[in-house]
């Protein structure tokens, strides 16, 4: 019984994840203003959001191509290795805002559904 439930939840989580992941990454970049790949992974992991490294980098590349992100290579000091830093473009900020609104809308609607039931029972 629990095995079946487990797989149902797993499937649903996977579906939700995709959209949620994009939103999480854009939000993180917005908050940090300027951040590089390894940092993104570490911070998301600390927040309990698991992402495979092999998935993140291609995704960042895609968002950059979509002009949501802009990039800059920086080296910490003479001895360090170069790192690619990401930050939001104006377009990226707009998209983030739209996503947040959509996300809140969905949460609100969900609440409405619950409340509608309570009303009936009145």
């Amino acid at each position: 019984m629990y095995f079946v439930m487990d797989s149902i939840i797993k499937n649903w989580s996977a579906q939700i994840r995709k959209g949620y992941l994009d939103l999480s990454i854009l939000t993180l970049i917005d908050v940090e203003n300027k951040i590089y790949g390894f940092e993104i992974i570490s911070k998301l992991k600390n927040l309990g959001i698991e992402i495979k490294e092999g998935t993140l980098y291609p995704l960042l590349s895609k968002m950059t191509n979509q002009e949501l992100l802009k990039t800059k290579w920086e080296t910490e000091d003479i001895k360090g290795h170069p790192r690619k830093f990401y930050s939001l473009t104006p377009k990226g900020k707009q998209v983030l805002l739209a996503m947040e609104n959509k996300y809140n809308e969905m949460a609100t609607k969900l609440e409405k559904i619950k409340k509608s039931k309570i009303k009936k029972e009145d």
């Binding site: 590089y36 980098y57 291609p58 895609k62 191509n65 790192r83």
Partner: protein, 304 residues
Amino acid sequence: MNNKKLDRYLGLMEKNLGAISASEKAEIILEIKSHVLDALENSESTISEILASLGEPEQVANKYLLDRGLKPQKPSKRPIFKWLTIGFLGTFFLTLLFILILFFRFTPLVKINSNGIYLFNGIISLSSSSSNKKELNKIIKKRIKTKKLNLSDILVTTNNIKLNLSNSDDDIINIDCKYNGDAKIIQNSNFVLNFKNSEDAECNIIVPKNIKLKINAKNGKINFEDIENNIVTNLKNGKINFKDIQGNVSANLKNGKINFGPKTNTMYNYNLSIKKGKMDEFKSSNNPNAYKINLHVKNGKITK
């Protein structure tokens, strides 16, 4: 920092990034390398573990391709599969060709006609005649009076022949032949029996005495027995038998055997030649009345 595993990983990734431009490829590789270096600095993981958590280089490269709307490169199959497929298809088509050839060559499976039973389109034949020859399905039987014709000679030309010649007591040419194909008989100052357009013939011909006989054949056996005629004969391959001849003989045989049986109490002057082969001893006579016997064989024998 020098690490074979990392270099190999990055190399594989680069190979699988395919259609992406060189500069973009370089940037991707550099970022992944940068990630690995950060991971090494900031965690206890080994290179292998870090690369494992990145995933297969081909798969990571494919994700880059997919996100750009490009087709991911197919994992290269080992060439053995390609060659196995070629081998299999090749064998299949060769077998098909072989079967087709068999079909056309060996059908009809059974054919029965007046000549016999033929299996597999003639490969196996159970025919009534045991010989290889085509059936001699035509017959000539003729008696020709020659007195009024004033014949100078009788000429027979054939291909493959079994010919027996002997003398008649009168002036009649008696032809009794079995043959296939075509035969021509021409009667004017010489009598011509032409079997050139037939393959095989078997003839018994009785000729009057004292008319010149000219016999030309390709292959076969010619028997002259008890003949009082001058004979000229040319045979390519086969056997010529002379027995009890009273006349001049000129015989040319390319390959085969000439057998000359002299008539008792008759004088012959022999002129024999053989290029390759054996010759028996013949007693030659210098008498001017002796019959001149010229026998020439290229390869073969001249026997008594």
